[in-house]
C-alpha cells in the first residue's frame, strides 16, 4: 500500500499542481497538530511550522499569541499533552472534553462510531483509502484532514470538495465553537482557526 503522502506532484509542476501540493502539506500539518503530541522533536517542528504558516498568512495577532505561549511554555510536549488530554480526551475539573469525532457533533445521538462515522469511512473507501493501523474511529478530525491531504495531493479536488461539503463542514463549526469555549490555549485555538480557513467554502 502506498502512503497517502507519497509525492505525486514534484517540482517543477503547473501552478495548480504546486497549489495543490501546498494545500496538501497544510492539511497534513493541521492533521498532525490535531493528533496527540507524543514525539518531542516532532512537536517542536509542528509548532514552529504552525507559527510560520500563521506569519505567511499575515495573522499577526495569532502569531503573537503563539510566540507568547512558546516563551512561557514549561516544556514540550508536556504542556501540549496535558492540554490535548483535557480538551479532547478526558478533562475533570473544568469544562468538559470536546471529543474530536464528527459523529458526536453531527449525529442526534452524539455517540462514537455513529452513522456519520460509518458514512465517512465508506467515503474513504469509495475513494480508494482505508485507515492505517490507528486506534481511532474513522471520523477523528486528524484522520479526516489526512484524508483531505491525500485527495488534494492526488489532485482530486472534486472529491475533496464533496467530502468537505458533505462530511467535514457540517460538524466542524460546532466543534470549533465548543473548543473555543473550552480552551484558551493558543496552539489549539490557532489550529482550529487555520482548519476553518483552509476548509471553509469559498465563492
Amino acid at each position: 500500500m502506498l502512503q497517502a503522502n507519497s509525492a505525486v506532484y514534484t517540482s517543477p509542476g503547473t501552478d495548480a499542481q504546486k497549489e495543490a501540493a501546498k494545500l496538501a502539506d497544510i492539511y497534513t500539518l493541521l492533521a498532525q497538530l490535531m493528533r496527540y503530541p507524543e514525539d518531542t522533536a516532532n512537536v517542536a517542528l509542528l509548532v514552529q511550522a504552525q507559527l510560520e504558516l500563521v506569519l505567511a498568512l499575515g495573522w499577526h495577532e495569532e502569531a503573537e499569541m503563539l510566540r507568547c505561549w512558546h516563551a512561557q511554555c514549561q516544556g514540550l510536549p508536556g504542556d501540549l499533552r496535558i492540554e490535548y488530554t483535557q480538551l479532547f480526551i478526558t478533562a475533570a475539573t473544568r469544562c468538559s472534553t470536546v471529543p474530536p469525532y464528527a459523529s458526536v457533533h453531527a449525529d442526534s445521538e452524539a455517540l462514537l462510531q455513529g452513522r456519520t462515522t460509518e458514512r465517512i469511512h465508506d467515503f474513504y473507501r469509495s475513494c480508494g483509502y482505508e485507515l492505517a493501523s490507528v486506534a481511532e474511529p474513522a471520523d477523528h478530525i486528524w484522520l479526516q484532514l489526512d484524508f483531505l491531504a491525500a485527495l488534494v495531493h492526488e489532485g482530486r479536488h472534486t472529491e475533496g470538495e464533496q467530502f468537505l461539503a458533505s462530511f467535514f463542514r457540517p460538524w466542524f463549526a460546532t466543534f470549533k465553537e465548543k473548543c473555543f469555549q473550552a480552551t484558551a490555549h493558543p496552539v489549539y485555538r490557532v489550529t482550529l482557526t487555520l482548519i476553518d480557513f483552509f476548509t471553509k467554502e469559498e465563492q
Binding site: 494545500l23 510560520e52 498568512l57 488530554t85 475533570a92 445521538e109 480557513f197
Partner: protein, 738 residues
C-alpha cells in the same frame, strides 16, 4: 487575522517554502492515518452480521446476547435466541449496551494525574509508562509496609483476576468488594448460617402459590429471567404479598400490600412465625426432621404477638394475620424471597436470618415454589493465581475479632478506618477496579480521607466515575462487549419445563476501541513489574477461557458454532433435602455472642421534621454504573423524590417543585431534584432512585442530574454480624428551591 485574504489567493501567492521549517518537511515526516487501497464501491460493507457469544454486564444477571455488527461497528444487541435463560428478551439496560460501548465519555487511554487527587489534571500516557508507574509504586509500598498495606476494592467479572492476584499472590487481606459487601453478602451469610445454602435469588416463583417480597421491588429491579419467573408465577395464580413502605411496582401487583414502617420488617416476620407456631400452622414434620434448636427459637420469639408487631410495624393486626394465614394455607409452595440489596439498617443479618427461618418453618426448601437451588453444569476449571504462604496476614477482622459472619473479603469499613487512622498498620496503596466507592459506600468524606492519605491510587474502569477523580493512574478497561472474561452457567428458569443446563462463555462482540485493554493483560503486566512474572497463571483472556472450558470438554470455537451457548440435559432440582438442616437457633452465633435466634433490633425513628431516606432501583439504571448511558439517562434523566401527598400539603410542596435535600447532620444535597407527590409512600419516609447526582464533569450525560443519595448517608451504621454498612438510617427534610 487578515480576513480579506482568501485561501485561494494565499495558495496562489504566498511562499512558505523558504520558511525555516518548510511544510514539505513536516509532511514528509508525517505518518498518515489513511493509506491507499483498491477502490471499493459504496455498499460493499453493508453486510450486517450476527455475532454470538455476548454476555451482558449492564447489571450482574448476565443475560446472553447476540450483536448485530456491521463493519466492526455494533448496531444492536438482542437476546440470544438460543438462551434458555433470558431468551430473546433484554431489558432497557441490556439494549443500552450499545450506547455504553460508544459513549464518548468512556475512558480511552491510560491517564496520569498531574494535578491533585479530587481535582485531577490528566495527561495521556503510554501503557508502558502507566504500567511502569503502577508496578514501581505498588512494589515500593509492599516492600516498605508489607502486602497488607495494599487495599483492593474490586467489582464485577473484570475484577476477579486482579482481586485474586492481589489477595492470593501478593497476599493482602484488605480486599473488599463494596458493591457485594453492601448488597448481597449479608443475605448469603445469613442463609448459610441458617440453611447452609447461599440463596442467591433462587426462589421458584414460577411455580409458587404465594410470593412473599420484603422490600424487593421486582419490576423496578429487573433481571430478565428472574422477572420471567415472577410474572409466570403471577400468571399461574400465585398470590403476591409485598412488605414495602412505598407503593412499588411490585406493590401495585400485590394481593396484599403491607405499607410497613421502615426498619420493622424483622418484628413482623417474628410475629408471623410466632403466630404460625402457636397455631401449629407450620410444617411440623419438616421442622421435626430438619430443624435444629426449634424449641429455643419458639420460646425466644413468643413475645412477638400480632398486637405487639402491629404496634411496632404500624400495620393492622388483621393484616399480619392475613399474611400469616395465606402463607400457612399454601405452604410449602411459598417463595419467601431472600432479597438482593439487603443492607438497610445495620441489623440486616437478623432480618435475613428471620427470612431463612420462615422459609424453613414453612418447609419451603427444595419443593415447588420454594427456595430451590438449580442444578447447573459442573466441571468448569477455576484458574487462579497461586496463593502465597503469607497471604492473609494482618487480617483486620481477625485482629479485632469482630463481624464473624462477614461475606468473603474484609468489611469495607475496617479497611477504611485502618487506612485513615493508620491503626493497626498503615494502608498506603489502593487499587480500585470497576468500583465507584463514592456512590456505593456511605460516608463519602471518609472514603476521600482514606484516598488522600494513600501513597498511590490506581483506578481501572470503563467510565470516569466520581472515584476516578482520586486516581494517580487511571487505566481504560475493555467493556463486557469487547472481551472474554466470564462463563455464565445455569438452567432453564422455569423448573416445570424440560430440565436443561447451559454454558455461555462471554465472547467479544467487537474489537476493543482506542487503547483499552482487558484486565488479564493489565494485571499480568503489573505483576511482571512487581516481580511476580513467574506466578502468572494464564497469558491471555482467551487462554483463561480455553482452560476453564477444558474441564467440560468444550472450546470457544465449538460453542461459537453452537450459537454462543452450549445446552445440555439438566437435572431435577426438587426434593434434595436429605442433608438439609435449619438452624432456628444457631449455636455458632451463640458462641460469638450474637443473638442466636432471629432478633428484632429497633432502629432510630426520624427526628421531628425529618423523614427517613429510602432508595432503590429504577428499571432504567443499575445504580451509578449505567448512569451516564446516553440512551438510559435520556429516558430517566433525574431521580424525583417521592413524598407523601399529605406531607406535601403540610410542607407546601407541589408535584414538580424543585427541592434540595438536607439530612439530620445538616449535609445538603449538592444538586436539586423535583418532587413526586404521591399517596404511594408513607408519611415518615421519602424515596429516591439510587445512583444519580454524579459530580465528575467528564460524565457529561449525567453530571449534576438528580440527587446523590449516598452523599446524604453520613450516619454510619454497621451490621455487627457481617460488618456491612446499613444505608437507610439517615433522615432528610426538603427545602424548596426558587
Amino acid at each position: 487575522m487578515a480576513m480579506n485574504l482568501t485561501r485561494r489567493n494565499f495558495l496562489k501567492t504566498a511562499s512558505i517554502a523558504a520558511a525555516s521549517v518548510p511544510l514539505s518537511k513536516v509532511a514528509a515526516r508525517a505518518e498518515s492515518g489513511v493509506v491507499k487501497t483498491p477502490q471499493v464501491a459504496p455498499g460493499s460493507f453493508k453486510n450486517t452480521k450476527t455475532v454470538v457469544g455476548g454476555v451482558c454486564e449492564m447489571c450482574f444477571w448476565r443475560c446472553q446476547l447476540v450483536g448485530k455488527v456491521r463493519d466492526g461497528r455494533l448496531l444492536k444487541l438482542e437476546g440470544n435466541p438460543k438462551s434458555i435463560d433470558n431468551g430473546v428478551s433484554l431489558c432497557a439496560r441490556g439494549n443500552g449496551g450499545v450506547a455504553m460501548l460508544y459513549d464518548p465519555d468512556r475512558l480511552k487511554y491510560p491517564l496520569k494525574n498531574v494535578g491533585k487527587r479530587g481535582e485531577p489534571k490528566w495527561e495521556r500516557i503510554s501503557w508502558d509508562e502507566a504500567l511502569d508507574i503502577c508496578g514501581k509504586k505498588l512494589k515500593e509500598i509492599v516492600d516498605k509496609h508489607g502486602a497488607k498495606s495494599l487495599a483492593i476494592f474490586p467489582h464485577g467479572s473484570t475484577a476477579r483476576y486482579p482481586m485474586d492476584f492481589f489477595e492470593r499472590t501478593v497476599g493482602t487481606p484488605n480486599v473488599s468488594e463494596p458493591s457485594f459487601f453492601q448488597c448481597r453478602g449479608v443475605r448469603d451469610m445469613a442463609y448459610i448460617t441458617t440453611l447452609e445454602i447461599a440463596p442467591d435469588e433462587d426462589v421458584d416463583m414460577a411455580n409458587a402459590k404465594v410470593i412473599f417480597l420484603v422490600g424487593s421491588h421486582l419490576g423496578e429491579n429487573i433481571h430478565v429471567s428472574h422477572i420471567k419467573g415472577y410474572l409466570k408465577g403471577l400468571e399461574r395464580g400465585a398470590k403476591l404479598v409485598v412488605l414495602d413502605p412505598r407503593f412499588s411496582a411490585a406493590a401495585s401487583k400485590a394481593h396484599i400490600w403491607v405499607p410497613i414502617r421502615p426498619g420493622t420488617d424483622t418484628a413482623m416476620l417474628l410475629a408471623i412465625m410466632n403466630y404460625l407456631i402457636e397455631n401449629e400452622k407450620y410444617a411440623v414434620d419438616f421442622v421435626e426432621e430438619h430443624g435444629e434448636g426449634f424449641d429455643e427459637f419458639a420460646e425466644g420469639i413468643k413475645e412477638w404477638t400480632l398486637e405487639r408487631a402491629a404496634a411496632e410495624c404500624d400495620v393492622p393486626v388483621a393484616q399480619i394475620k392475613q399474611v400469616a394465614d395465606l402463607l400457612a394455607e399454601n405452604m410449602p409452595n411459598v417463595a419467601i424471597h431472600p432479597g438482593r440489596h439487603v443492607t438497610w439498617y445495620g441489623n440486616d443479618f437478623q432480618r435475613e436470618r428471620a427470612l431463612a427461618c420462615l422459609t424453613g418453618l414453612l418447609g419451603a426448601v427444595g419443593v415447588q415454589g420454594g427456595l430451590v437451588k438449580p442444578k447447573g453444569p459442573k466441571g468448569l476449571k477455576r484458574i487462579n493465581w497461586p496463593k502465597a504462604e503469607t497471604a492473609g496476614e494482618g487480617d483486620l477482622r481477625r485482629m479485632q475479632d469482630v463481624h464473624h459472619f462477614h461475606p468473603p473479603g474484609c468489611p469495607t469499613e475496617l479497611i477504611r478506618e485502618a487506612a485513615i487512622s493508620g491503626d493497626p498498620y498503615p494502608i498506603k496503596g489502593c487499587v480500585i477496579w470497576g468500583q465507584n466507592m463514592i456512590q456505593t459506600i456511605p460516608g463519602q468524606d471518609r472514603t476521600i480521607k482514606m484516598l488522600e492519605q494513600m501513597d498511590f491510587v490506581l483506578c481501572t474502569d470503563i467510565m470516569p466515575t466520581d472515584i476516578t477523580m482520586y486516581a494517580d493512574i487511571l487505566l481504560p478497561d475493555c467493556s463486557y462487549l469487547e472481551k472474554y472474561d466470564f462463563i455464565k452457567t445455569g438452567t432453564q428458569w422455569d423448573f416445570s419445563d424440560e430440565h436443561q443446563q447451559y454454558i455461555a462463555p462471554r465472547m467479544a462482540l467487537v474489537e476493543p476501541g482506542f487503547e483499552r485493554k482487558d484486565s488479564i493483560w493489565i494485571v499480568n503486566e503489573i505483576a511482571k513489574r512487581m516481580g511476580y512474572g513467574d506466578k502468572i497463571p494464564v497469558v491471555s483472556q482467551e487462554e483463561m477461557m480455553a482452560q476453564s472450558l477444558e474441564g467440560v470438554g468444550l472450546t470457544l470455537d465449538k460453542i461459537r458454532e453452537e450459537g454462543g451457548i452450549h445446552i445440555q440435559p439438566g437435572e431435577d432440582p426438587y426434593g434434595n433435602n436429605e442433608d438439609l438442616l435449619v438452624y432456628f437457633f444457631s449455636e455458632e452465633m451463640d458462641d460469638y455472642d450474637y443473638p442466636a435466634i432471629p432478633t428484632y433490633i429497633p432502629v432510630e425513628p426520624p427526628p421531628a421534621g425529618y423523614m427517613r431516606l429510602l432508595y432503590g432501583r429504577t428499571p432504567l439504571h443499575t445504580f451509578n454504573r449505567s448512569i451516564n448511558n446516553p440512551w438510559l439517562i435520556h429516558e430517566a434523566p433525574i431521580n424525583p423524590v417521592w413524598v407523601n401527598d399529605k406531607v406535601a400539603v403540610r410542607l407546601g410542596l407541589k408535584h414538580g417543585d424543585t427541592v434540595r435535600l438536607v439530612n439530620q447532620d445538616g449535609v445538603e444535597s449538592r444538586t436539586t431534584t423535583t418532587v413526586k407527590v404521591t399517596p404511594g409512600i408513607r408519611e415518615d419516609a421519602v424515596y429516591l432512585y439510587h445512583g444519580y447526582g454524579t459530580r465528575n464533569k467528564e460524565m457529561t450525560f449525567s453530571v449534576d442530574k438528580g440527587v446523590d443519595d449516598t452523599s446524604l448517608i453520613t450516619k454510619i451504621a454497621i451490621d455487627p454480624e457481617s460488618g456491612a454498612h446499613g444505608m437507610r438510617n439517615n433522615f432528610v427534610k426538603l427545602v424548596k428551591v426558587g
